[in-house]
Symmetry: C2
Subunit: 333 residues, 2 copies
């Protein structure tokens, strides 16, 4: 039921993803879903309904939604994972509420100090995992160390990168730049033998493909993600205006369209359908609120793939290994 | 002498700007400059040489460059302003070193806690002043209040906006979001009668033109600026690839080129040639290291315009007025 245009794209995405053969549960208000399903011509045999009476709205406060809406589609989807009735969950809804509901229903993975939201940028040389993009506004160096560890586990599980390079986002590459947080985090990451740490990375170098994991605090990550998304939208708008300016440019735009669409689709992180919650005891993919059916289908495929690749075990192992190697404050707070 | 390709673009820019009729001093190594000037066909009568024996390199540490290179072109240019021999200075060089040299040579304006670097974004509805983009990594709420005051003074002096709206950059528009810093700053800005404060603004809304001044700390501002610049470069690269993909798209790109160049030039903040140092006792425009002659000329024109519009007096008055209206810790630290 999550997302700006729910449940249309979610139902369409489930139908599209069903051809991959895995089982899909559509969680939400049965009456609403049945109506949408009828409009879309019915469900394939491997897509099933699972009723949930409530919906968490996009602008609802995360903690209160997670606490009070116990029969929301979001919460119920996490409960299904928690009870072993599903291997992963996907939502196009409120990401803060997803994190809070996931924590309520499934808990943290052992040893994780702070779960994080990881997004996947389409880098020139392959996917770049970037976290945290919003779960933790205030961070400590130990969190960033774990973000690096969890991000590396994700790149191994999802993209088969065996020795991912990890960097810290900063305003310059020199070690003495950055903030107190980045400098202390760099010391921790540099000392963690399990991580191939390569120092600071500037925002402009993020997509160049020299590293596969970039960590930052949830405030900076969220601002950066929203800036990047905003610039893409703004430039697309300028390009539409340019295409419409006169007859010549209209003709030119028509000729360029296939190549330009292909190029611009590289910017679309919906290649994977969304980001991931890392550090909770569930595989959870969070897509964009404005996702269409194709994007929902990719999110479902991605969730199935990383669950099958054993993401949770990889994250758990990496976190344990790293905690045993480095002295760290135990158990979080 | 500052910038990646100095002194070529600086000399070219001075020659181009000279047609506006104001007096221009080219500060730098006389031998080097004379050679460049000869290559460019000589100087118009209103462009003059002023010798300075040293150069601050682009990657040199700001504080040490400012302290030790007392005869650098950067330092000497500020000294000229400090001694009343120039009304403003322009550099395409190291912005950190510019801030440090400006402070050494000219000092802060009375009552300013922390000078800041303001950049000017080309918003859909006119210029948007954004600060701090790098001078102050660690900020206090009082600094952000002053950034708002100084930014508003700049929009009045430079763009004749009489009642600029001021916002704080945040990750969401709700007042309870953001960080401790943004929340405390919002309270200060909301209580400052001299400022038309309109709360939080998300990065994606920056260019939409609803506000004319956006404040943030120097860390977040620098990351955001570099992300935006990085996205523009990345997308331009994708567009070039798209244009080159096949014969159809090559033809299309040719037809679209004039409209597209016009549209993309809106993204180019070099319309004003650069950002401004705000809070020091000098009008100082800092352009991009990779600036070409046209961009240097615009920076010169912009510096002359804001100096003539009395930027320093406006900033000084606004800061004094705001400090008298709100109780604030005196004299900085």
């Amino acid at each position: 039921m999550g997302g700006d245009f729910a449940p249309g794209p979610n139902v369409a995405g489930a139908i599209e993803a069903s051809r991959h053969g895995f089982q899909i549960l559509l969680v939400g208000d049965e009456a609403v879903l049945r109506e949408e399903i009828a409009e879309q011509g019915g469900l394939p045999p491997n897509v099933h309904l699972h009723h949930a009476s409530e919906v968490v709205e996009m602008d609802e406060k995360a903690a209160s939604a997670a606490r009070h809406k116990r029969d929301s589609s979001l919460r119920v989807a996490f409960e299904l994972v928690s009870h072993g009735q599903a291997d992963a969950m996907v939502t196009m809804g409120n990401s803060g509420a997803a994190m809070a509901s996931g924590l309520f229903a499934c808990g943290r993975l052992d040893g994780v100090l702070r779960p994080a939201i990881a997004t996947i940028f389409p880098g020139s040389a392959g996917p770049v995992v970037f976290l945290d993009v919003g779960a933790n506004v205030d961070c400590k160096p130990e969190y960033l160390l774990q973000f690096g560890t969890m991000g590396a586990a994700l790149t191994r599980a999802a993209f088969a990168v065996t020795k991912p390079k990890v960097a810290i986002l900063s305003n310059a590459s020199e070690a003495e730049k950055g903030t107190e947080l980045t400098r202390a985090s760099a010391e921790l990451l540099g000392g963690a033998g399990s991580i191939q740490f390569c120092g600071y990375l500037e925002p402009g170098a993020m997509l160049e493909g020299e590293v596969q994991v970039v960590v930052t605090d949830g405030w900076t990550g969220n601002i950066m993600l929203k800036t990047a998304e905003g610039m893409v939208e703004h430039i697309k708008g300028l390009m539409r205006e340019a295409a419409d300016r006169n007859v010549l440019s209209q003709a030119g735009a028509l000729l360029m369209k296939p190549s330009l669409s292909a190029a611009m689709s590289e910017l679309d992180s919906s290649e994977y359908g969304g980001g991931l919650l890392l550090g909770i005891n569930a595989v959870a993919v969070i897509g964009h609120g404005a996702a269409d059916g194709a994007s929902v289908a990719r999110a479902l495929g991605f969730a199935e793939r990383v669950a099958r690749a054993g993401l949770l075990d990889r994250v758990r192992e990496s976190v344990t290994e790293q905690r045993e190697a480095v002295e760290m404050p135990h158990g979080g707070e």
